[in-house]
């Protein structure tokens, strides 16, 4: 009886070891397969499910990185015409925009102008319709009747100075370059006031380093220079969909469509 027990115990033990080895082998195999699957999922098969972007993209980067502080891209939303498309101040120089009514909206970096107030003689301006809900707004009749249209001012919005313009400023004011560097690690690059729309300045917030451009995803309405047409606007991203990896951005992606009269 004892012998039988010993035999059974040995057989059990051998079986167990066999099972252990088998299971361990299986587990290692399963684990390796699991790892490969998950790794592929993570590294190779990242889910690129986003649909094609149907909005608009600025034709070029504008703002201080081009070497010009007030480098504005002007848009006539009524005709689709774009000014300064290829280089700063080519079609409309800084200051000349004030006397023109053939533009409705302008971009300099993430700052915006409407043809109103200190920026232009037009009847432009902007209102904020709140977060998201871009598709909900289709008609002028939906706009709040008592909305206060915000016009441009030159005392509220700062733009980043280009390094060239800062150097010129130092020379003009006889200031020391070493004491007044263009970029300060704790405060960022030098800034200056400009004429722009303070409401639309909220459409994107910048912080850093590292540089972070955070759109508000609010839907705004921009009134045309002639005061007769209305365009809804939503800033989507500082980057465009074709941005190369490592690109610093600046070609803003946005939606802009006319509201039905």
């Amino acid at each position: 009886m004892k012998k039988t027990n010993v035999m059974n115990s040995k057989i059990k033990s051998n079986r167990l070891i066999h099972i252990f080895r088998y299971l361990h082998g299986r587990m290692v195999l399963t684990a390796v397969c699991g790892i490969i699957s998950v790794s592929l999922l993570i590294t190779g098969c990242v889910d690129y499910g986003a649909e094609e972007f149907t909005g608009k993209i600025l034709p070029r980067v504008s703002g201080y990185t081009t070497g010009v502080t007030n480098d504005w891209l002007y848009f006539n939303l009524r005709t689709g015409e774009v000014f300064n498309r290829t280089m700063p101040n080519r079609d409309i120089s800084e200051g000349d925009q004030k006397e023109r009514t053939d533009w409705d909206l302008a971009f300099c970096g993430y700052r915006l102008r409407t043809n109103s107030g200190t920026s232009g003689i037009g009847q432009g301006g902007a209102i904020d319709l709140g977060y998201g809900t871009y598709d909900k707004w289709t008609s002028v009749s939906q706009l709040p009747a008592n909305a206060e249209w915000i016009v441009d001012t030159d005392t509220d919005v700062y733009v980043t100075m280009s390094q060239n313009d800062w150097n010129k400023y130092l020379i003009e004011h006889n200031l020391d370059f070493k004491d007044n560097p263009w970029f300060d690690p704790n405060n960022g690059p030098q800034k200056t006031l400009t004429s722009a729309n303070r409401l639309l300045a909220n459409s994107m917030e910048f912080s850093g380093p590292p540089p972070v451009y955070l759109p508000s995803f609010h839907t705004y309405v921009v009134r045309s220079a002639d005061g007769g047409r209305y365009f809804k606007l939503q800033i989507i991203s500082w980057y465009n969909t074709n941005t190369e990896i490592g690109d610093t951005g600046g070609q803003i992606s946005y939606y802009c469509d006319e509201l039905q009269p």
Binding site: V38, P189, P209, L214, T248
Partner: protein, 786 residues
């Protein structure tokens, strides 16, 4: 005929003798059953040492089977002294009475942790109590039991003076007033690469694969070379000791913050929106098997964590003190007129796997091959259409040949390959931005030829290649560092009371030439309870490749510049410590001084019409500190752990650049209940960080002079404490369920830092609960087989 009869008698006599002997031997066979006290679970693979004398001379060894049973023959003397040991249990000694044939013994869990075997302090395995270098040991199992979800959290909650903060580039570890560049992380004694300012991807460390963590504070450069100037944290992974050990688990935690709802594929940032709202989920498998001469250990871990934002209530405030800026007539306070933007704490998704194979073909030869892989996606909170990916492969082999009982040789080769990528969020493409490789062959010789002396001699070569686009014109360029080092150490056990460890390391590299680093440590133990330790060691840190060769222009705003003329920084470390322990109480206190010279620091300087961040051998720094560790087993079911750490870091010209707090403390209360087929563990722990005050380089406009000047503003961050609680229940030794809450009092930092670049805060989303289920699969198989 007579001869035949005599031969027959002799054969008969021999048979008779053999029969008697067999009976006597059968009488002397004893069967021991070793069970865990409380739960009465069998202790598998426990080591049983037995001998016929109390001194255990010429002892024999055996191990328990999967039922915790061992059978052996009592020595001829008829008296049997035994010593039973198993990892995590208090060793048990005793005598087996004559005539005893069966005996059941119970091992008690080693709550005090005084019987741990440590290797880091001396590169040889010895019980913690006998190590001349003080070592703190954190058991992997107890960290999991305490409900920690990752290594960062476990280290911060359990280690005095260790702090992991969120800074601009990610995680920043500090310890005893030193930053990550002076804390060397090792995995099974081997280095890793892929660091950012000394900080590795801490996600690489699988908490469930750890057997224990050994922490040696102070300079250990004699044994571990560069970077071991402040502390060494050695993560020792599990190795199967049983025929089979398989555990699997899953952990689910509350989300940190929901940022997006109703995500649509039409969204421009579709992938970003998905990635920043991830569950806090982990799963893992740890499988070990041991059969004959082979041992295998496999560990796999998958984890995903949720990103979130931290918010600052008030605008930034900068204080320019007269102390740090002697040109000022009085302190200046400047308040930002803009609110501080929220700080994004990135989420991540990663998988790590490791495989170790051991082969012990004979008593004299042991061999090991190992490899691991790691993939991680880091989902930052920046909407820039890219996220980071990193991957890492490590591998190596080791072999030890015992030429004589007193002389053995170990040869090993270790490699680590680390890559970092940027991956596009709308297009299926990625770009490599960082590549790092290390290769480290090592040969060590150990000898016990001289009585009482443990000698170890080693030679190792270290090759470090780093490829980055930040060396030359934004093109991927490789820079290398090669060092050859020799070390010699003697641990001399003069008598049971006195022990002295002496060692020296010489280092040669083409860049830095020869260096020599000595150390001496002594331990005096007047009795079983008390021990006193004294330690002097010299540490060093070679400049990193980044500090030597970086040359990166940030959009024309500023430049980060390496310095090829940097020399290694060196430090002298002195410590005095005492330790008291009995069955219920463990107390340890250490006082230390750490004196640095030629410390490498980054400094902002203006020239070429812009700011330049340069590395320089700048300063001397003195760190004086003390540390207390206490463990008190108040009752059999309750243990209190407490630590306190103090450090005073010297200022340079009134400027404090160390971002550490002088005060840090941890405390933990553990409740244990052990019943047959049921265990209950309750943990309540706290980590406290004192107020931080440090100076940050800046510029300030001085009205009296009508110009701006280089200046320092003082950053003051308030003290805080984080509390965690968890309850863990194990049913039938097969299923363990843990429920816990991190940051139970919902602490949220109100200040993120000061200035644009300076963050220094605990990355907590507030009180979050988690549920963890673990399965002990081998136990299930065992029960099923029964």
């Amino acid at each position: 005929m007579i001869i035949k009869i005599e031969t027959g008698r002799k054969i008969f006599s021999l048979f008779l003798l053999l029969f008697v002997c067999l009976n006597v031997m059968a009488d002397r066979t004893v069967r021991l059953t070793i069970l865990e006290k409380g739960t009465r679970q069998p202790v598998i693979a426990a080591n049983v040492e037995y001998a016929g004398n109390e001194k255990m001379e010429k002892s024999s060894f055996t191990v328990t089977d999967i039922n915790g049973i061992v059978t052996f023959t009592i020595p001829q003397t008829g008296v049997c002294h035994y010593r039973i040991s198993s990892m995590g249990f208090v060793p048990l000694t005793g005598i087996i009475d004559r005539g005893t044939k069966e005996l059941t013994l119970y091992l008690d869990q080693d709550v005090m942790g005084l019987n741990e075997i440590v290797v880091t302090g001396s590169r040889t395995a010895r019980p913690m109590k006998l190590s001349p270098v003080a070592t703190q040991v954190l058991s992997g199992q107890s960290l999991v039991n305490a409900g920690y979800g990752n290594l960062q959290q476990a280290l911060q909650q359990e280690t005095p003076g260790l702090n992991i903060q969120k800074v601009g580039f990610g995680n920043e570890i500090s310890m005893q007033g030193l930053d990550a560049r002076h804390v060397l992380f090792l995995m099974d004694g081997e280095r890793m690469t892929g660091d950012m300012a000394g900080n590795l991807d801490y996600e690489r460390f699988n908490l469930h694969a750890l057997d224990r963590i050994e922490i040696v504070k102070g300079a250990s450069s004699t044994l571990y070379g560069s970077r071991a100037a402040g502390a060494v944290i050695n993560l020792i992974t599990k190795k199967a000791t049983k025929p089979l050990r398989v555990e699997a688990g899953v952990r689910y935690g509350q989300m940190n913050e929901r940022n997006y709802k109703d995500i649509s594929k039409k969204d421009f940032q579709y992938m970003f929106e998905k990635n920043v709202d991830r569950p806090n989920l982990q799963s893992w498998v740890s499988a070990g098997a041991r059969s004959g001469k082979f041992t295998s250990q496999t560990d796999v871990w998958y984890s995903v964590s949720d990103g979130f934002y931290l918010y600052q209530e008030e605008n930034d405030r900068k204080v320019y003190t007269k102390e740090a800026n002697p040109f000022l007539d009085e302190d200046i306070i400047i308040r930002s007129y803009m609110p501080r933007p929220p700080m994004g704490i990135e989420g991540s998704e990663h998988v790590s796997a490791s495989q170790k194979l051991y082969w012990d073909p004979s008593d004299r030869l042991t061999m090991q091959v190992y490899g691991s892989l790691f993939f991680m996606n880091t989902y930052d909170m920046i909407q820039d259409l890219v996220f980071s990916q990193s991957r890492d492969f490590t591998g190596g082999a080791k072999a030890t040949y015992k030429i004589k009982d007193w002389f053995s040789v170990t040869a090993g080769l270790h490699t680590d390959f680390y890559d970092r990528f940027k991956r596009h969020e709308r297009r299926d493409e990625r770009q490599k931005v960082y590549k790092s490789r290390i290769l480290q062959p090592r040969l060590t010789i150990t000898s016990h030829y001289f009585e009482g002396h443990d000698l170890i001699f080693g030679v190792e070569h270290f090759t470090d290649d780093l490829t980055s686009d930040r060396f030359v014109n934004r093109e991927m360029t490789t820079r290398s560092l090669k060092e050859t080092e020799y070390f010699l150490q003697d641990e001399w056990t003069i008598n049971p009371r006195w022990m002295i460890s002496t060692g020296v390391r010489t280092n040669f590299s083409r860049v830095f030439g020869f260096m020599g680093m000595p150390k001496i440590a002594a331990k005096y133990s007047p009795d079983e309870q008390w021990s006193f330790r004294a330690n002097y060691s010299m540490g060093y840190r070679s400049p990193s490749i980044k500090e030597l060769f970086f040359n990166w222009d940030h959009l024309g705003m500023f430049q980060i510049k390496g310095n090829e003329y940097l020399q290694p920084e060196k430090n002298n470390y002195i410590s005095l410590g005492s330790e008291y322990s009995n069955d219920r109480l463990f107390l340890s206190g250490t006082l230390y001084g750490n004196y640095f010279r030629d410390k490498i620091e980054g400094v902002w300087r203006i020239y070429d019409m812009q700011y330049n961040f340069e590395y320089m051998n700048l300063s001397r720094q003195r760190l004086l500190g003390g540390e207390v560790l206490a463990r008190w087993r108040m009752f059999d079911f309750m243990t209190l752990n407490a630590t306190y750490s103090y450090v005073d870091v010297s200022k340079r010209d009134g400027v404090q650049i160390s971002t550490s707090s002088p005060h840090a403390a941890t405390a933990g209360l553990e409740y244990r209940l052990r019943k047959p087929r049921y265990r209950l563990t309750g943990n309540f722990n706290m980590s406290f960080m004192g107020e931080k005050t440090f100076d940050v380089q800046d510029r300030v406009y001085v009205e009296s002079e009508g110009r701006t000047r280089d200046a320092y503003f003082r950053c003051e961050l308030p003290a805080y404490a984080l509390f965690n609680a968890s309850v863990s229940q194990t049913f039938n030794n097969m299923v363990k369920v843990t429920l816990g809450v991190d940051n139970i009092f919902n602490y949220q930092p109100k200040t993120l830092g000061s200035g644009v670049t300076m963050f220094n805060i605990p990355a907590t989303a507030g009180a979050r609960a988690h549920l963890q289920v673990e399965l002990m699969i081998e136990e299930m198989i065992r029960v099923f087989k029964k």
